[in-house]
Amino acid sequence: MIEAVGLTKRYGAKTAVYDLSFQVRPGAVTGFLGPNGSGKSTTMRMILGLDQPNAGRVTIAGHPYRSLPNAPRQVGALLDAKAVHGGRHARNHLLCLAQLSGIPARRVDEVLGVVGLQDVAKKRSKGFSLGMGQRLGIAAALLGDPQVLLFDEPVNGLDPEGILWVRNLMKRLASEGRTVFVSSHLMSEMALTADHLIVIGRGQLMADMSVKDFISANSADFARVRTPGTEPKQREKLTATLTEAGGQVLPEQDGALRVTGLPLSRISDLAHDAGVRLWELSPHQASLEEAYMRMTQGAVDFRSTTDQRAGLQQQLAAPVLAGQPPVPGQGQPDWYAPPPPQQGGGQPFAMPQPAPQAPQAPGQPNPYAPQPAATPASPATPAPAAPATPPADLTKPGSKPTTEDA
């Protein structure tokens, strides 16, 4: 059991993690998701006592890491696969870690077998591929047969066979009653591996729920309906008809309509009765990947822009796309359409109400926390082209947090 309460970490003016509270329970694989730079690794380091939080605390089995008796036998961690001395044999690397916690050398050979590195045990890790490095790091985490395991991006650089192996390993470790905490930025991977999800963006908690809840809350079915593009009136007419019949209609960027709340056959009947021709009527399910991207798009720190190649162009007759994007973000490679309307109008990303929301420390209002109503993905305002209220920019030095003294 890992428990974080009000965890806050600042590096100079940059707040990496703000008021993060969560619990990681034994017997399940807990996925820790967030975009690059969202504070996942920082949180992992704080759990391991490597970085000291500015405020809040994190404990493992009730103890701060640094005061855990014989920590390596209780907690195993893979932080960075490349964090080994390249000139040292794989076996010696594990041996020096094993000796620290009084683990016999026999165990080193065991874990080398478990991760499939027995043939390169006497090879210098300098020549290891990223995937082999990951396996070595996982071997180090497994050395002490610990009850709590942390893995920071364990599948990076692994081949498909290796990914499957890691996935099964995590599940097996959890089924043995261990606490397994796995960070990743790949939603698709976590959807297959994890039982529970903790999603953070810009160092703040965005979701803490089971994968099942996450799926049911975020992957609503919808129908895509396309009317002849040449006749916008037909589109308006159909929109009105469908809305009248109780459906929720949301225009998509390319002119299609996203319809929820009505079965396909009913949509077809309604269109027929209204005399509207359909060019497309197809069932869809929003992928988890997409749901996750939408949830975090307001909290992405590193976003690519469209490559205009302007610096390479010799001389163009006409100026290219001057001031084209009407809404910031739209048209960028990783811009995601607003979420599908939800039956019942619930908030797609809101945590289930009896959520395991950690108690907010009294007297410490979170100045950054987006108010629920203003979540970037609120369905009430279905076109928040730019995230309506992006979780306030934590890097802003001007916004002094209230917990400075802690």
Partner: protein, 256 residues
């Protein structure tokens, strides 16, 4: 977690990287070979020395002439032992395994120091005997007054240079930065400060200037050094203690 475990682990670390053998091997070879060479040159040139120079002739100290260069390899050894952890990122794994950072650092330094001490003492004795063999008739014997102290002192001096480097590396973390400061300092700056009359008053308190006093058996003419062999050694120990304490304080305070 018992300290013996950490010590054993650090021993595994230090013996399983090639840089240990290379740096220590280089220190041994350079110190002995250069000492022999200079001893031989001095012997051949002895008849041309002035009377004053003959009076201040210190055969023991001359056989340690290679140490000025050999100590650079010891510096590299000391720096790499500590900063390897940082440059590879291994420090995170290590500190996650040994949350008591003091125990981690002091175990590492203890193991490296013990190894350096053994190598340095062997080097010092070898450099002495081989150097004296080169000096022929002008040689000193181990039984002469002050000679045994100087030979053992030579081993201690080399060891302390390595420990000082470990402390500095623990403070600076980056091997390039640590080497970039220590190498020119000990090879050039300290020598210049210690030999230019204007700066000599300050320069003589630098770790290597003070520490090398212990290797002298015969004092140079018009020697006005305010400390003796063991006094100089104590000054060097003080430098080392400060460097290691600084490294510890920073390691304890910093995020890994």
């Amino acid at each position: 977690m018992s300290s013996t475990r950490v010590l054993r682990s650090e021993w595994t670390k230090i013996r399983s990287v090639a840089s240990t053998v290379w740096t220590l091997g280089l220190a041994v070879v350079v110190t002995i070979a250069l000492g022999m060479l200079i001893s031989l040159l001095v012997k051949n040139d002895f008849d041309n020395l002035s009377a004053n120079e003959r009076r201040a002739f210190d055969p023991t100290f001359i056989s340690f002439a290679g140490m000025s260069l050999g100590q650079l390899a010891m510096i590299v050894f000391g720096v790499l032992v500590v900063s390897n952890e940082y440059s590879t990122g291994m420090i995170r794994t290590s500190l996650a395994a040994v949350p008591q950072r003091g125990k981690f650092l002091f175990s590492k330094i203890a193991v490296a120091t013990a190894l350096a001490l053994v190598v340095s003492l062997a080097t010092s004795f070898a450099a002495f005997f081989l150097g004296q063999a080169m000096l022929g008739d002008h040689r000193a014997a181990l039984g002469d007054t002050g000679v045994l102290r100087a030979v053992i002192g030579g081993g201690l001096y080399m060891t302390l240079i390595a420990v000082f480097s470990m402390g500095v590396a623990a403070m600076l973390r980056s091997p390039m930065l640590a080497l970039g400061i220590l190498m020119p300092f000990f090879f050039l700056i300290s020598n210049i400060l210690g030999n230019v009359p204007a700066t000599r008053k300050v320069g003589q308190y630098l770790p290597d200037q003070a520490g090398s006093k212990i290797m002298q058996v015969v004092s140079p003419i018009d020697d006005d050094t305010p400390y003796g062999p063991w006094g100089g050694f104590a000054i060097m120990v003080l430098w080392v203690v400060v460097a290691v304490a600084g490294g510890y304080a920073l390691l304890k305070k910093r995020d890994a």
